[in-house]
Symmetry: D2
Subunit: 141 residues, 4 copies
């Protein structure tokens, strides 16, 4: 009756790959954006659809803005956890926030956010389809 | 009268690799951070040293903050140009700005900035060595 | 009493990342070698140690030879399975074979093998430590 | 008497990216396949066409087999040279060989070969178009 707000968060864990390290002995910084994408893919799946199926329907979500703050370096074979939430939904864009942490110790490794824009098959900006927008709004924290 | 301000900018060009594209048909967004690193490496070389030699001397520069705005998608085999400048120098950090553009048309593809912190061999934050700080300050635009 | 031969195989599953696709719409071919490394890491863990701890003890395993046959292209978000076995152990080298398959359908995606050489901290070829060699020999199929 | 055999070889140089190193302090082994692709792209361009334009015409070349022998580890910022030749042309496949070397010292870093199959837009194996086959045959060493 009272329209409870449900905050959805995806939590996914995986191990750091050797390929992701660099000669500093920690994960090269660009890979955190790949990890964000893993979290985003998982969150969309938990919302009841999948990014793969969105693309099949002709909807792409292209990253138009990304920022990452690096707090501590992830190391090879560490178990990493990515927590993903939706933080803003507009007619054509969705913003996701991420907290990346060491799954064993809980220590924060990085904080990130990305804004994605809805595009059609030709790569043009289009409004988010109503049902996708609703899904994202329902997930907004 | 003396004290001429010299703004240093690195300009480097290379072709987009097939490996850098994704199934959207454009470059996957995390690779732009790799391109920034290429620009940064080139700028440091032009300042008269090299990041490789800094590391041999025990000085690392670790990315602690990165942000990218994506304007237009780079495509396979496109010739890309990265323009890199130093925009801020502090006791322990240096900030670099990047403009990534299509080298053929001059169209802007992305704008980015990264802040790097000076670390020692153990990964601890340390002050930038005086000579490195001076190099960076001389290059500041 | 009779010294039964135990064949050890690691089986590990994960989803294809968007970053791993290319503009052909399938996984870019070099990433299969990264997946082999994931399988290898998992097999070594199942043998009772970890590659990370071997490195801490000063033992590196460097890939000196790799070959991959690609049978069918993995797609974004597919669940992939890597089966890894040890197929040859010599004084300084270990050979691993991999079968990479679609975890949902069982279809073979690729077959691969890599030979790794034991190196010390200076990158010089050295004999496999006796206990590592024994582990590998016990795992040999 | 006429019909001179012209052996074509592409030679291309570039610097090792920090992102390509791993915690062993050398280039992670899968990246050599990316470098082979750079050599292949360059060779096709020198033959008078481009792989990008082949794809626009609906012809894909998919890697179906790859092998690499690693001789010495490339390091960050090293100038690397890739020499690429066509070594076999069949109705549906082309084989390329690669010699990857340190451009400064000439030392061999890796030897590789890849076989690529001609596919159409649906990913089905098709015969190489006559003009592409002729180009490749003319380049065969």
């Amino acid at each position: 009756m009272s329209g409870t707000a449900v905050t959805r968060e995806s939590t996914i864990e995986f191990r750091v790959r050797y390929a992701e390290t660099d000669q500093m002995g920690v994960v090269y910084h660009s890979h955190y954006l790949v990890w964000c994408e893993i979290g985003r893919t998982d969150l969309i799946r938990q919302l009841g659809t999948s990014y793969a199926s969105l693309e099949k329907d002709g909807i792409g979500l292209a990253v138009i803005d990304a920022s990452v703050r690096y707090h501590s370096g992830a190391k090879y074979d560490d178990l990493v956890r990515v927590r993903t939430t939706v933080t803003d939904v507009r007619s054509r864009t969705v913003k996701f926030d991420y907290r990346i942490e060491d799954a064993t110790t809980g220590m924060r490794l990085a904080s990130a956010s990305t804004t994605l824009a809805s595009i059609n098959r030709e790569g043009k900006l289009v409004a988010l389809p109503a049902e996708v927008r609703k899904l994202m709004e329902d997930a907004r924290s």
